[in-house]
């Protein structure tokens, strides 16, 4: 059987969801038997490839760059999974939405008596005013809430998708 092409994408998140994915331990070997990892922060690949079967995305959309990467991932992937609370609800990154990006940057870099009072700007993608979950931009095929979702949950989800289990009952929730 031809191996399925799996990608994972890391937007605005803490990488905890990726850690949880690694936490599937020896079951990674089962996964590896079924998929080729074609793009991931865990692998050194620069460009998001053209044809992807499943992409798991961690993190909220917080900058124009995140947005562009998300759209590219959607265009080139058959199934898109929102992995973890940041991708599903905005979660921690979205806590700044109450005040907006500017107020947050000023508060963090200027108003807290830092050593060098300046907002880092050069070479960094500018922040969107609001940090938002994936489904506000693209169609999401599966939501896996959790902060982070348990390794078991992630494995069940991926394994289920790859083996074509019709009814994916994931025992996870916001904040799990």
């Amino acid at each position: 059987m031809k191996k399925r092409r799996l990608a994972t994408l890391w937007l605005d998140g803490c990488s905890g969801c990726h850690m949880s994915l690694l936490d599937t331990d020896e079951r990674l070997l089962d996964l590896a038997a079924q998929v080729d990892m074609v793009f991931s922060p865990l692998a050194d690949i620069k460009e998001f490839p053209e044809q992807v079967d499943v992409v798991c995305i961690e993190g909220a959309v917080s900058s124009a760059e995140d947005e562009a990467r998300l759209h590219r991932a959607r265009r080139h992937s058959k199934l898109l999974i929102a992995m973890g609370d940041c991708a599903v609800t905005g979660n921690i990154p979205a806590m700044r939405n109450v005040h907006g990006a500017d107020a947050m940057l000023r508060s963090v870099y200027l108003e807290r008596e830092p050593l060098q009072a300046q907002i880092p700007g050069t070479n960094l993608p500018p922040l969107r005013d609001k940090s938002l979950p994936l489904h506000h931009f693209v169609h999401v095929d599966l939501f896996i809430p959790g902060c982070p979702p348990a390794a078991d949950t992630l494995f069940t989800a991926l394994n289920g998708l790859l083996t074509g289990t019709a009814d994916l009952r994931l025992d996870t929730r916001f904040g799990a």
Binding site: V88, A94, V98, P145, R173, F174
Partner: protein
């Protein structure tokens, strides 16, 4: 008349109860689960969260189970796809209304809103968040009120007025600007009426009211005491 036993069916199950009892009471007695949020045994029922809406055969409208008295021969359905859809939407609307961030909430893992979302299969919030700027009132020596997590169920208002008799809490403003308020918009710590009993904290379904200095694992809310209190008090009066 009030001691007449009525029979009815809920989700196809034949059940019975008194004419003074509600659909919700009878359903719970018979282990039929109807989701609720504003309802709490021991407090007056206000029928405001609309999660316990059920269908009654022969009526075009939906009925809140917590305030609808049973009737002879009633045929009640509690779990249709339509009802579950409404419930999912209401839960999502509540999430979108304020800043509910489960992962960093003191009630993570024992929050009724979070649990409702889980039970109803709400795996994301379709509606965009409103992200209102809300206060956290930590002026009280022992407790915290975090408006970000409040769902306006008014259990705190009712327990304080009806059980404790202090009526420290009420709701100010209206509509989307409604907020729980102490006295004349007084910081909780300065409230002249608060007795510090903590009942409001324990009836709060979410992390809006919590005890200071308790970790997420420790911040468990003790509720079963309410019906006990009410029952004792009623007996005393009789």
């Amino acid at each position: 008349m009030s001691d007449t036993i009525l029979t009815l069916t809920i989700d196809g199950q034949p059940v019975s109860g008194l004419a003074t009892e509600t659909i919700l009471q009878i359903a719970r007695e018979n282990k039929i689960d109807i989701p609720t949020l504003c309802y709490l045994e021991g407090l007056s029922a206000v029928g405001s969260c609309r999660l316990c809406m059920v269908e009654i055969e022969g009526s075009p409208k939906l009925h809140p189970a917590c305030v609808t008295l049973i009737q002879e021969g009633m045929v009640v359905t509690t779990q249709t796809e339509r009802l579950q859809g409404y419930r999912r939407n209401i839960v999502q609307l509540l999430f979108a209304e304020r800043n509910h961030v489960c992962s960093v909430c003191v009630s993570n893992g024992h929050c009724e809103l979070q649990e409702l979302a889980h039970k109803l299969g709400v795996d994301h919030i379709a509606f965009p968040g409103c992200y209102p700027e809300l206060e956290v009132d930590a002026s009280h020596r022992r407790f915290v009120l975090d408006h970000n997590r409040c769902v306006l169920c008014t259990r705190c208002v009712r327990v304080c007025a009806e059980i404790e008799g202090a009526h420290t809490w009420d709701v100010k403003n209206r509509g989307m600007r409604s907020r729980i308020v102490a006295d004349l918009d007084t910081p909780w710590g300065d409230s002249a009426t608060c007795t510090g009993c903590g009942k409001c904290v324990h009836v709060c379904p979410t992390g809006a009211l919590s005890e200071k200095g308790k970790s997420v694992a420790e911040m468990l809310k003790k509720r079963p005491s309410l019906p006990y209190l009410v029952a004792n008090r009623t007996e005393e009066r009789q």
